[in-house]
């Protein structure tokens, strides 16, 4: 681990100022991801600015029925919050399917959103990786790609985003509140995470010194049912091979509204807008679900190691929608 200085910020402005002064400073939240990277040599900052104790640990109701989730709200607390469980079960389920109890107790909302990929090449500093070391190449291309992206990848990077929480937030049209050197702004979650393109070292649109302060969850109509499904290699403590966050509003057998996001398939939580488009106004049937899944996955570009993710994502999406319609088992 490279030595670093440790600073604690007393308020948001101070935190942003501390980072703005130092190109090689980073924010420290729960540390569940960053500390691993420090140990692996993936992250080599000079300074850690601890923001975990900023007064951003509240979950507040917004006018109109939404919620504002503070950036330092721990994953366990967010999952257990009665309002979250009642209004956004998909988010609670996603959180509880991630990591372990110990990690969820430490991990923060903003930190979870800013998790970096689990790509084995990204984490192995002896291999080339454009995300870790821009311009060095992508070892995953032609390498071990079981966990890699089937959608939205670039020749520079095929990594996937590891978060469960962010997938649910993507389906919920969350809005990320950011304070940066130039002031405050709100970033819709769909614009928050990036596709790799030719700059895979940028996971998000945040600039240096930008601090996530909260995530806003817009209200969902009461008739919407939501659900998170995650497929992984063992019953707990594993990242998603594929996951689906879906919120569905069916009236008179017809899909009135639907939001779907996929996890484990792309560099960012993948909002399945093509599937949504296919479904809106369509009968809520197995056939429609399958067509919608296929519409979304038609653009998939799998390789040998991850081709299974295409049928797996399709089946997971169909199963999730079927369950949300209360449909009969096959």
């Amino acid at each position: 681990m490279k030595p670093f200085a440790y600073r604690r910020a007393d308020d948001v402005a101070a935190a942003v100022a501390l980072l703005s002064q130092d190109r090689h400073a980073v924010f420290l939240g729960g540390g569940t991801n960053l500390v691993d990277h420090l140990r692996l040599g993936v992250a080599t900052p000079d300074t850690l600015v601890d923001v975990s104790r900023l007064p951003l640990d509240r979950i507040e109701e917004l006018p109109g029925g939404g919620l504002r989730v503070g950036a330092t709200v721990r994953n366990s607390d967010l999952a257990a919050d009665p309002l979250v469980r009642q209004r956004y079960p998909v988010l609670s389920q996603a959180l509880l399917s991630g990591a372990s109890g110990q990690l969820r107790n430490a991990a923060t909302t903003a930190g979870n959103l800013l998790q970096r990929t689990r790509c084995v090449y990204f984490q192995d500093v002896t291999t080339a990786c454009n995300k870790r070391d821009p311009g060095s190449g992508c070892s995953a291309l032609g390498g071990y790609q079981r966990y890699h992206a089937i959608l939205g990848a670039s020749p520079e990077c095929t990594a996937t985003h590891p978060s469960d929480m962010a997938v649910a937030m993507a389906a919920l049209d969350a809005v990320v509140q950011v304070v940066g050197p130039d002031g405050e702004r709100a970033v819709p979650i769909g614009d928050f995470h990036r596709l790799p393109g030719d700059r895979p070292h940028h996971d998000t649109v945040l600039g240096h010194g930008d601090l996530v302060t909260a995530v806003d969850l817009p209200p969902l109509p009461e008739t919407v049912r939501s659900r998170y499904r995650k497929v992984r290699d063992r019953a707990s403590y594993a990242f998603a091979l594929v996951s689906v966050a879906a919120a569905l509003d069916v009236r008179d057998g017809v899909v009135a509204d639907v939001r779907i996001a996929l996890g484990g398939v792309a560099h960012k939580p993948w909002r399945a807008s093509l599937a949504e488009q296919e479904l809106r106004g369509a009968p809520a049937t197995e056939d429609s679900f399958r067509r919608a899944a296929e519409a979304e996955l038609a653009a998939a570009q799998p390789v040998d190691g991850n081709a299974f993710k295409v049928p797996l994502a399709r089946n997971t999406l169909v199963a999730t929608l079927r369950e949300l319609t209360g449909g009969t088992p096959r």
Partner: protein
């Protein structure tokens, strides 16, 4: 001096009681579950340095140059060592073939091979200094499989081999090859009504012990070194360490430290020589602890294998012949590969009667990670394949798979493919009957009044299915494993037992070099001493090299071998005590001369139960102290052409029935129950027996559905050296494991016992695979099976 408690020194203060056959509690149990047990990674010494190992970042390359100057100039660094600094002409080590350089010389042969060592006053300083060592590599072609290894123009992984296998292998990139030919498989095949063939692939499994490799080397005033280390076999380590250091073995004093699991992965050396070299060079104690990432490179793994099988059977269900070919990937260094080959070949057809066989097993040298000992040792890979074949033949014949196995099951008196007669109970058909007759777990156990309990469903806490799309499957398997070291190896163990009176009470002290790696040996030794010597107080001394070798804690052998040594020595001690008694009290009672005498409850008693004297009075101030070796009956090498020979000591049998539920849509498996029946000969500690069987069963489950070290086929680099990426079963993945224990005595073994540690690891995997096949209808010729193999089935 902060040398920490070892598991063996704990029994002194424990209040455990009980002789053989009782479920005496382990002295280390409470400490381990409460986190207070001191493992080798907790070792500490005033003024100690920390060692760090620089490892190769490539799998196969010539070393052009190594520049250590910058590392040496780092403040806090005491020493940097490379191959050129090795002190003697002995620069290699190895379990069977000394082919492994202490530090890489000229080239590196696998990812993670040790290249240089650093000692510094802080672990982080050592690590950073190592990062400043500049190694220039010149890439060599990477050999990763049989085709690349045995091509006529293949680069040799080891040039100039002069080991005892080179004369009979068809290519220098083959470590060892063992054919077994018995009867006439070609002619027998003509009698077959059905012939079934298949190709199977077994992935690379890791031992995944939780305590990483670690130890502490302390230089001594006499020029020697004291080494505290977690290992499986102190004396084997010693034989490999001392010559490299240029020290006589008596000057390398080894003591076992707290071992956090082993499963074969500590049979080869890791930090032992490195730590001693640094300690002797710097004159300071040196501690080395691998982190998890490094641990994956610090020990050998289970051989991945490709297996081809052909089985023939008559219409009435009798096997006619088996042909098979087993190719094990031994990786860059030999480790235990030759013995693994011998096991894979000799146990390749399973616990069945087949008179006509044509068998070949071999291990390759490649640039993949070195593979060697792991629980089940060659028999695991074979069992996965032959049990899949048995199901296929049964299906072809339209027979019940259990009945088909029972029709062909071996029994006492059966002749093995090696020509060896099985001369103790072999209740194969009975074990199958027992697992089959057990009631099946109820269907749809996930249903509760409050909805589905996802923990009981495929996907577990991932909250996937609530029961829809879930299909049940049931599968069976049975396996055969040898116990002890085979093929003519002089396998022995030593025990020193002392008996004396302390505070008016007779006390037995047992001293062996047996490595307690979690198997419960120290518990059993105390039980044996209590039973044989009639005492309550037994002190188990720490395992070290001040007593003769106990052999390896592997091959399911320690209760048989070191347990046997303790028993034998106790019996000899008992005779000495009785001799003393006869001298002191013989004239007072005729029974001293005429009766069969025992030691029980602190007294000398007749076989009729009459007490003649207190042991304390017999001993007075005398100390009876004996150190004796114990050997199992000799075995023979397998003939290199025909594979014939009485190669094994004892066989061990287990059968499993797996009940799985598969979410066929998402490809997720829930193993609901994994019932086992095993013959253990005699359960010295019934609770430990069940624990071993459940542990072995779970390790078999792991390689059935998740465990695999991924090696990039192009670069031979390991891709998942962490517990985030190499998955092992959690308790949520672990099913109910009901265990049915048979105790059919083997008259050749101490107490009639049978080694138990490995057999359950064999049949667990194929039983789970069989159940998944039944649920999905898929062929599944590869393990582990993961969602990509099942989704949409």
């Amino acid at each position: 001096m902060g040398i920490t408690r070892t598991p063996t020194s704990l029994t002194q203060s424990s209040a455990t009681r009980g002789g053989i056959g009782e479920s005496t509690l382990r002295p280390d149990g409470t400490l381990k579950v409460t986190g207070e047990f001191a493992y080798s990674s907790d070792l500490w010494h005033e003024d100690m340095l920390w060692g760090y190992t620089l490892r190769s970042t490539v799998a196969h390359a010539a070393i052009v140059s190594i520049d250590t100057s910058e590392a040496l100039a780092t403040s806090g660094v005491y020493a940097v060592l490379t191959y050129d600094d090795l002190p003697t002409e002995v620069k290699h080590y190895g379990l069977e073939i000394r082919d492994t350089p202490v530090l890489a010389h000229g080239k590196v042969r696998h990812h993670g091979e040790p290249v240089a060592l650093v000692a510094a006053d802080h672990p982080e300083t050592a690590r950073r200094a190592a990062a400043k060592i500049r190694v220039e590599y010149d890439a060599l072609p990477v050999i990763t499989d049989e085709a690349s290894a045995t091509a006529p123009d293949a680069v040799l992984v080891h040039e100039g081999r002069d080991d005892h296998h080179i004369g009979h292998v068809p290519h220098p990139n083959i470590v060892h090859r063992q054919p077994i030919v018995r009867g006439d498989a070609d002619r027998a095949a003509e009698r077959a009504d059905v012939v079934v063939s298949g190709e199977y692939v077994f992935g690379m499994q890791d031992q995944a012990f939780l305590g990483p490799e670690s130890g502490l080397a302390v230089p001594a005033e006499d020029g020697g070194v004291d080494l505290y280390v977690a290992t499986q076999w102190l004396h084997s380590d010693l034989r490999q360490i001392a010559p490299v250091l240029g020290l006589p073995e008596r000057k390398v004093r080894m003591t076992l430290s707290g071992v956090g699991g082993a499963f074969g992965g500590r049979e080869d050396l890791s930090m032992q020589i490195h730590g001693c070299l640094l300690a002797l060079r710097t004159g300071k104690p040196v501690k080395i602890v691998y982190n998890r990432f490094e641990s994956f490179f610090g020990h050998v793994h289970r051989h991945p294998a490709r297996l081809w099988y052909e089985h023939g059977a008559t219409r009435n269900g009798k096997l006619t012949h088996v042909r098979c070919r087993i190719v094990l990937d031994g990786g860059a260094y030999a480790s235990a590969s030759p013995a693994v080959v011998g096991n894979a070949a000799s146990l390749s057809i399973g616990p069945y009667v087949v008179e006509d066989v044509d068998i070949e097993a071999l291990a390759l040298y490649t640039n993949n990670p070195p593979c060697g000992a792991m629980r089940g040792f060659g028999a695991v890979q074979a069992c996965f394949a032959y049990e899949a074949q048995m199901d296929k033949v049964a299906a072809e014949l339209g027979m019940d798979p259990v009945e088909f196995r029972q029709v062909n099951a071996m029994e006492q008196g059966t002749v093995m493919p090696t020509g060896q007669t099985v001369d103790s109970p072999a209740p194969v058909a009975e074990l199958l009957r027992r697992v089959k007759s057990r009631p099946l777990p109820p269907e749809r156990q996930w249903e509760t009044t409050e909805g589905a309990d996802v923990r009981a469903l495929p996907g577990g806490l991932s909250n996937t299915t609530h029961g829809e799309g879930v299909v049940r499957g049931v599968g069976y398997a049975v396996g055969i494993k040898n116990v002890g070291f085979s093929e003519g190896f002089d396998d022995y163990s030593t025990a020193r037992v002392r008996m004396q009176v302390i505070n008016g009470e007779p006390v037995a002290t047992v001293h062996t070099a047996m490595a307690e790696v979690g198997q419960g040996g120290v518990t059993v030794h105390a039980q044996i001493a209590r039973s044989e010597l009639g005492v309550t107080q037994v002190t188990i001394q720490p395992a070290d090299t001040q007593v003769g070798s106990a052999g390896s804690t592997s091959a399911s052998r320690q209760t048989y071998m070191t347990g046997g040594a303790v028993k034998n020595t106790c019996e000899a001690v008992r005779e000495k005590v009785l001799d003393l008694g006869r001298r002191r009290f013989g004239s007072y009672h005729p029974a001293w001369a005429t009766a069969e005498l025992l030691l029980e409850g602190g007294k000398v008693v007749t076989d009729g139960g009459e007490a003649l004297a207190d042991i304390a009075d017999v001993l007075e101030d005398d100390v009876v102290d004996l150190e004796l070796e114990f050997r199992h009956r000799p075995t023979q090498a397998f003939d290199l052409r025909t594979g014939q020979g009485n190669g094994h000591v004892q066989y061990s049998f287990a059968a499993h029935r797996a009940v799985v539920e598969v979410d066929t849509e998402l490809g997720l498996v829930k193993v609901v129950e994994l019932a086992c029946a095993q013959d253990v000969g005699k359960a010295l500690n019934p609770l430990s027996v069940v624990g071993q069987i459940q542990g072995g069963t779970t390790q078999g489950l792991g390689v059935a559905v998740m465990e695999e070290i991924v090696v990039d086929p192009k670069t031979a680099l390991v891709r998942n050296p962490s517990f985030t990426d190499y998955l092992i079963p959690t308790i949520l993945d672990t099913p109910t494991i009901p265990v049915d224990v048979l105790e059919l005595a083997d008259e050749h073994a101490p107490y009639g016992l049978r080694g138990i540690g490995e057999a359950p690891t064999l049949s667990s995997t194929p039983a789970v695979l069989a159940a998944i096949r039944q649920a999905t209808g898929l062929e599944l010729n590869r393990t582990p099976v993961r969602p990509e193999h099942l989704t949409g089935s």
